[in-house]
Symmetry: C2
């Protein structure tokens, strides 16, 4: 038994017409009367129609991320959420879960719920083996979207990314300047765009500083998972190959690398230098404080929102990739490498 306009009118002591005007935000109602009607509304528990709310919230924007375990994702979500809120939009975060919601399901759900736009962070657009038709379909449905940290020429949408090539190049240069001559790269599966880009930057750096060929560089690339354990495994392999400097594709992996080194009785940074990627929150407080490549999260988040809003507003910027330059943050996990280039004499712990 839902309340009707008549009931509200009676409660507020006005006519039906006035109530209707208030509910639709029409002019011609005195502020006091409007207040009275709104009060009566709440008294009777009347559900305000969406139109009335349009003033307060311009709409919903979906944000799809792969997980929340890596602190970079909550950090980005926070920045993007704040930027959206400032523009009057309400952010809704949907996280993929292994064995559960896929990106497509979440997208469909958000579209069904009438979102004004969607932001994909490290989604299937970053997977070179994925079908990019889904984004074309989304576009056909008229749902604006922006893709973060990934790229595919097949997709007609704006991209926002960190310059992964520059990132690894920066890391390699840093380690080389410290005297490291054997530098390894620990990254995720090869099918991801940021991974191949990081490898490119890695090759560039090794060629530039150590004169290694791409093939020689590839010997020093270890693929693994983006997790702590993944970093640990990759680092163990790289250390076995004699690396004294390890560049990791995420801070989580870097922590895993530190653990791997310690497990073998090696000290970071004395014996092994580790460079992370992301500069996640809290990462400055680790032991040792992690040297890492900072993604400009703030700038990227704001650019993403601005771009999406332009898409929504119908004044789309050119659909290119906005590339953000990362920054090397030197802290305590990197130090002078042993000269001479020989692998440290270690007997594995276990």
């Amino acid at each position: 038994m839902t309340a009707r306009l008549v009931d509200i009118a009676a409660q507020a002591g006005v006519s039906e017409a006035t109530v209707s005007r208030v509910l639709n935000g029409k002019p011609g109602v005195a502020a006091a009367t409007r207040e009275a009607v709104l009060a009566a509304l709440d008294v009777l528990g009347y559900e305000r129609p969406v139109r009335l709310r349009r003033g307060t919230s311009a709409g919903l924007v979906g944000l799809i991320t792969p997980e929340l375990d890596n602190p970079i994702f909550p950090a980005l979500a926070q920045v993007i959420g704040q930027a959206l809120t400032r523009q009057g939009y309400t952010p809704v975060l949907a996280t993929q879960t292994p064995g559960g919601s896929t990106e497509d399901e979440l997208t469909e759900m958000l579209v069904d719920r009438g979102v004004a736009g969607i932001i994909f962070v490290s989604g299937l657009h970053a997977d070179t083996t994925a079908d990019m038709e889904r984004y074309a379909a989304l576009r056909a449905k008229g749902v604006p979207h922006v893709l973060v940290n990934g790229f595919s020429p097949k997709v007609d949408a704006p991209f926002v990314s960190t310059d992964d090539r520059a990132a690894t190049q920066l890391a390699v240069r840093h380690l080389a300047s410290l005297g490291h001559t054997r530098i390894g790269l620990a990254v995720g599966p090869r099918r991801f765009v940021p991974v191949v880009r990081k490898i490119e930057g890695f090759r560039l750096g090794l060629r530039e500083r150590l004169g290694l060929s791409p093939a020689e560089a590839d010997e020093l690339v270890q693929h693994s998972l983006y997790t702590l354990e993944g970093g640990q495994a990759a680092a163990t392999a790289l250390i076995a190959k004699g690396c004294t400097g390890i560049v990791c594709a995420s801070d989580m992996m870097a922590l895993g690398a530190v653990r791997a080194a310690r497990e073998q009785g090696l000290d970071v940074p004395r014996d092994i230098s580790v460079v992370g990627f992301d500069d996640s929150p809290l990462i400055a407080f680790t032991d040792p404080p992690l040297t890492t490549i900072r993604q400009p999260v703030q700038a990227m988040g704001q650019a993403t929102v601005r771009t999406l809003l332009e898409e929504i507003g119908g004044t789309p910027a050119p659909h290119s990739e906005f590339v953000f330059l990362p920054e090397l943050v030197v802290r305590g996990s990197t130090a002078s490498g042993r000269r001479g280039g020989s692998a440290p004499a270690v007997e594995p712990a276990s």
Copy 2:
């Protein structure tokens, strides 16, 4: 120019009445006809009412958290999200933003979007000064909800909380066993339920181990913000009062406390022992590795989801508070306190 029922009826080749029935999920429409109407709906861009969303997922569940900066919230969100996914529900995370979305706005948005239930984490139910009517209203609307880490006897809903009393008591016992005789507590604003509970546990611990009166204990409580900077400020004050052991209400605050100690040239744990709260991810990797009180996030998340599902399913458990016992995780930020109880002789760094 919004599409009318007539238009849709024309597009679908049926009568207005049938369209109305479809839109309201009324019976008496053949499946094929229903499909046709829905198709016509999409063609004309008519926004479907939430009620008849495509039913691949059992439904949406909203999750409202205050922020994402403190890693405990993403961690909880991850656990709850996974548990929901396993049950066929889709989690949607909505985060409050300062100056933006309030809890009420987010709640309303989620209800409008037709969520099957809502989980509030550290929301207004934890604020003793907040009006609890909102939860009664939600209940009246038939939206099941579960409230995490907070409590109010005025609210008729299930609660899931960490035992804050036990937590601080545990921390105080630990520090006292290490020989600390001057122990401080750094917590958030007094109006929050977990804060008053932590203070109660703190008093209990100080009375039990050091024979202090509640009034004496209150002297050693410092209110601040839940952030790193808040912890730093509170710890600075507590150190000035001669405390050698500091119990913090979050890991972020504990990191702030460590920073405060170092700023004054003190070493953690040699001069000052710090105990955190949450056992957030990554916190084991800090320098020093933080001794902390672990919230049983996994168990709480699962219990929360189970309880919510029972509410949704119509077989509500008794609306009491499910209290989870926290666990002391001893790592490297606590050590023997100096005997004698005198404040350390320090000259402040700056």
